[in-house]
Symmetry: C2
Subunit: 99 residues, 2 copies
Amino acid sequence: MDEETADELRDLRQSIDNVDAALIHILAERFRFTQKVGRLKARAGLPLSDKSRESEQIERLTALAHEAHLDPVFAEKFLNFIVAEVIRHHEKIANESDR
Amino acid sequence: MDEETADELRDLRQSIDNVDAALIHILAERFRFTQKVGRLKARAGLPLSDKSRESEQIERLTALAHEAHLDPVFAEKFLNFIVAEVIRHHEKIANESDR
Protein backbone atom coordinates (compact mmCIF):
# COMPACT_ATOMS: atom_id res chain seq x y z
CA MET A 1 0.00 0.00 0.00
CA ASP A 2 1.51 3.39 -0.95
CA GLU A 3 1.65 6.24 1.54
CA GLU A 4 -1.18 8.23 -0.01
CA THR A 5 -3.53 5.24 0.12
CA ALA A 6 -2.51 4.53 3.72
CA ASP A 7 -3.22 8.17 4.68
CA GLU A 8 -6.58 8.16 2.94
CA LEU A 9 -7.57 4.86 4.60
CA ARG A 10 -6.50 6.16 8.03
CA ASP A 11 -8.52 9.33 7.48
CA LEU A 12 -11.67 7.43 6.46
CA ARG A 13 -11.32 5.04 9.38
CA GLN A 14 -11.07 7.97 11.80
CA SER A 15 -14.44 9.21 10.48
CA ILE A 16 -15.92 5.71 10.77
CA ASP A 17 -14.70 5.47 14.38
CA ASN A 18 -16.33 8.82 15.20
CA VAL A 19 -19.59 7.71 13.57
CA ASP A 20 -19.47 4.42 15.52
CA ALA A 21 -19.06 6.26 18.82
CA ALA A 22 -22.19 8.26 17.94
CA LEU A 23 -24.08 5.07 16.99
CA ILE A 24 -23.16 3.32 20.26
CA HIS A 25 -24.35 6.26 22.34
CA ILE A 26 -27.59 6.69 20.40
CA LEU A 27 -28.26 2.95 20.62
CA ALA A 28 -27.68 3.11 24.38
CA GLU A 29 -30.28 5.87 24.58
CA ARG A 30 -32.70 3.86 22.41
CA PHE A 31 -32.43 0.89 24.77
CA ARG A 32 -33.10 3.19 27.74
CA PHE A 33 -36.41 4.10 26.09
CA THR A 34 -37.28 0.52 25.16
CA GLN A 35 -36.43 -0.66 28.69
CA LYS A 36 -39.05 1.85 29.89
CA VAL A 37 -41.50 0.41 27.35
CA GLY A 38 -40.63 -3.07 28.66
CA ARG A 39 -41.36 -2.10 32.26
CA LEU A 40 -44.60 -0.38 31.20
CA LYS A 41 -45.72 -3.47 29.26
CA ALA A 42 -44.83 -5.78 32.16
CA ARG A 43 -46.77 -3.56 34.59
CA ALA A 44 -49.82 -3.30 32.31
CA GLY A 45 -49.67 -6.96 31.25
CA LEU A 46 -49.30 -5.96 27.58
CA PRO A 47 -47.84 -8.37 24.99
CA LEU A 48 -44.06 -7.97 24.58
CA SER A 49 -44.20 -7.85 20.81
CA ASP A 50 -46.53 -5.60 18.80
CA LYS A 51 -46.66 -6.53 15.11
CA SER A 52 -48.73 -3.49 14.03
CA ARG A 53 -46.24 -1.12 15.71
CA GLU A 54 -43.37 -3.00 14.02
CA SER A 55 -45.04 -2.70 10.60
CA GLU A 56 -45.45 1.06 11.11
CA GLN A 57 -41.79 1.34 12.12
CA ILE A 58 -40.63 -0.61 9.07
CA GLU A 59 -42.73 1.59 6.78
CA ARG A 60 -41.39 4.76 8.37
CA LEU A 61 -37.77 3.65 8.45
CA THR A 62 -37.72 2.43 4.86
CA ALA A 63 -39.09 5.84 3.77
CA LEU A 64 -36.38 7.60 5.82
CA ALA A 65 -33.74 5.24 4.41
CA HIS A 66 -34.87 6.06 0.90
CA GLU A 67 -34.44 9.79 1.62
CA ALA A 68 -30.99 9.20 3.15
CA HIS A 69 -29.88 6.99 0.21
CA LEU A 70 -29.59 4.01 2.53
CA ASP A 71 -30.68 0.61 1.20
CA PRO A 72 -34.29 0.22 2.49
CA VAL A 73 -33.84 -3.56 2.66
CA PHE A 74 -30.88 -2.99 4.98
CA ALA A 75 -32.93 -0.52 7.06
CA GLU A 76 -35.59 -3.21 7.56
CA LYS A 77 -32.96 -5.83 8.47
CA PHE A 78 -31.45 -3.31 10.89
CA LEU A 79 -34.79 -2.67 12.61
CA ASN A 80 -35.44 -6.42 12.90
CA PHE A 81 -31.98 -6.87 14.42
CA ILE A 82 -32.65 -4.17 17.03
CA VAL A 83 -36.21 -5.30 17.74
CA ALA A 84 -35.00 -8.89 18.39
CA GLU A 85 -32.71 -7.48 21.10
CA VAL A 86 -35.53 -5.32 22.49
CA ILE A 87 -37.85 -8.35 22.76
CA ARG A 88 -35.05 -10.22 24.57
CA HIS A 89 -34.86 -7.31 27.07
CA HIS A 90 -38.66 -7.20 27.43
CA GLU A 91 -38.72 -10.93 28.18
CA LYS A 92 -36.05 -10.47 30.84
CA ILE A 93 -38.02 -7.60 32.44
CA ALA A 94 -41.29 -9.59 32.28
CA ASN A 95 -39.62 -12.63 33.89
CA GLU A 96 -38.11 -10.50 36.63
CA SER A 97 -41.46 -8.90 37.42
CA ASP A 98 -43.06 -12.36 37.55
CA ARG A 99 -40.87 -13.36 40.47
CA MET B 1 -54.79 -0.50 28.48
CA ASP B 2 -55.75 2.55 30.59
CA GLU B 3 -55.38 6.07 29.22
CA GLU B 4 -52.29 6.91 31.29
CA THR B 5 -50.47 3.81 30.07
CA ALA B 6 -51.48 4.57 26.48
CA ASP B 7 -50.17 8.15 26.81
CA GLU B 8 -46.90 6.98 28.35
CA LEU B 9 -46.42 4.35 25.63
CA ARG B 10 -47.16 6.91 22.88
CA ASP B 11 -44.67 9.32 24.43
CA LEU B 12 -41.89 6.69 24.64
CA ARG B 13 -42.56 5.58 21.07
CA GLN B 14 -42.25 9.17 19.86
CA SER B 15 -38.78 9.30 21.41
CA ILE B 16 -37.86 5.93 19.89
CA ASP B 17 -39.02 7.16 16.47
CA ASN B 18 -36.82 10.26 16.81
CA VAL B 19 -33.85 8.15 17.84
CA ASP B 20 -34.45 5.80 14.88
CA ALA B 21 -34.45 8.71 12.44
CA ALA B 22 -31.06 9.74 13.87
CA LEU B 23 -29.76 6.16 13.58
CA ILE B 24 -30.84 5.84 9.94
CA HIS B 25 -29.13 9.09 8.97
CA ILE B 26 -25.93 8.27 10.87
CA LEU B 27 -25.87 4.79 9.32
CA ALA B 28 -26.30 6.34 5.87
CA GLU B 29 -23.28 8.53 6.56
CA ARG B 30 -21.28 5.54 7.85
CA PHE B 31 -21.96 3.66 4.61
CA ARG B 32 -20.84 6.69 2.59
CA PHE B 33 -17.46 6.42 4.35
CA THR B 34 -17.23 2.65 3.96
CA GLN B 35 -18.12 2.94 0.26
CA LYS B 36 -15.11 5.23 -0.07
CA VAL B 37 -13.00 2.63 1.75
CA GLY B 38 -14.36 0.00 -0.66
CA ARG B 39 -13.38 2.04 -3.73
CA LEU B 40 -9.95 2.73 -2.24
CA LYS B 41 -9.39 -0.97 -1.51
CA ALA B 42 -10.56 -1.97 -5.00
CA ARG B 43 -8.22 0.61 -6.58
CA ALA B 44 -5.23 -0.43 -4.44
CA GLY B 45 -6.01 -4.16 -4.70
CA LEU B 46 -6.30 -4.44 -0.91
CA PRO B 47 -8.20 -7.33 0.73
CA LEU B 48 -11.89 -6.50 1.37
CA SER B 49 -11.86 -7.72 4.95
CA ASP B 50 -9.25 -6.72 7.56
CA LYS B 51 -9.39 -8.88 10.69
CA SER B 52 -6.90 -6.77 12.67
CA ARG B 53 -8.92 -3.60 12.01
CA GLU B 54 -12.11 -5.46 13.02
CA SER B 55 -10.50 -6.64 16.28
CA GLU B 56 -9.49 -3.06 17.08
CA GLN B 57 -13.03 -1.85 16.34
CA ILE B 58 -14.57 -4.52 18.57
CA GLU B 59 -12.21 -3.66 21.41
CA ARG B 60 -12.95 0.05 21.06
CA LEU B 61 -16.73 -0.35 20.71
CA THR B 62 -17.08 -2.72 23.64
CA ALA B 63 -15.20 -0.17 25.80
CA LEU B 64 -17.52 2.61 24.56
CA ALA B 65 -20.56 0.37 25.14
CA HIS B 66 -19.42 -0.27 28.70
CA GLU B 67 -19.22 3.50 29.32
CA ALA B 68 -22.66 4.06 27.78
CA HIS B 69 -24.21 1.17 29.81
CA LEU B 70 -24.92 -0.73 26.60
CA ASP B 71 -24.44 -4.52 26.66
CA PRO B 72 -20.90 -5.01 25.21
CA VAL B 73 -21.96 -8.37 23.74
CA PHE B 74 -24.71 -6.56 21.84
CA ALA B 75 -22.22 -3.89 20.69
CA GLU B 76 -20.03 -6.64 19.22
CA LYS B 77 -23.03 -8.32 17.53
CA PHE B 78 -24.02 -4.90 16.17
CA LEU B 79 -20.58 -4.26 14.69
CA ASN B 80 -20.53 -7.73 13.11
CA PHE B 81 -23.98 -7.05 11.62
CA ILE B 82 -22.80 -3.75 10.09
CA VAL B 83 -19.45 -5.14 8.92
CA ALA B 84 -21.20 -8.02 7.12
CA GLU B 85 -23.15 -5.41 5.12
CA VAL B 86 -19.97 -3.40 4.48
CA ILE B 87 -18.15 -6.49 3.12
CA ARG B 88 -21.16 -7.13 0.86
CA HIS B 89 -20.80 -3.55 -0.47
CA HIS B 90 -17.02 -3.95 -0.87
CA GLU B 91 -17.54 -7.15 -2.90
CA LYS B 92 -20.01 -5.36 -5.15
CA ILE B 93 -17.56 -2.48 -5.72
CA ALA B 94 -14.65 -4.91 -6.34
CA ASN B 95 -16.74 -6.90 -8.85
CA GLU B 96 -17.81 -3.74 -10.65
CA SER B 97 -14.21 -2.52 -10.92
CA ASP B 98 -13.15 -5.96 -12.28
CA ARG B 99 -15.37 -5.55 -15.33
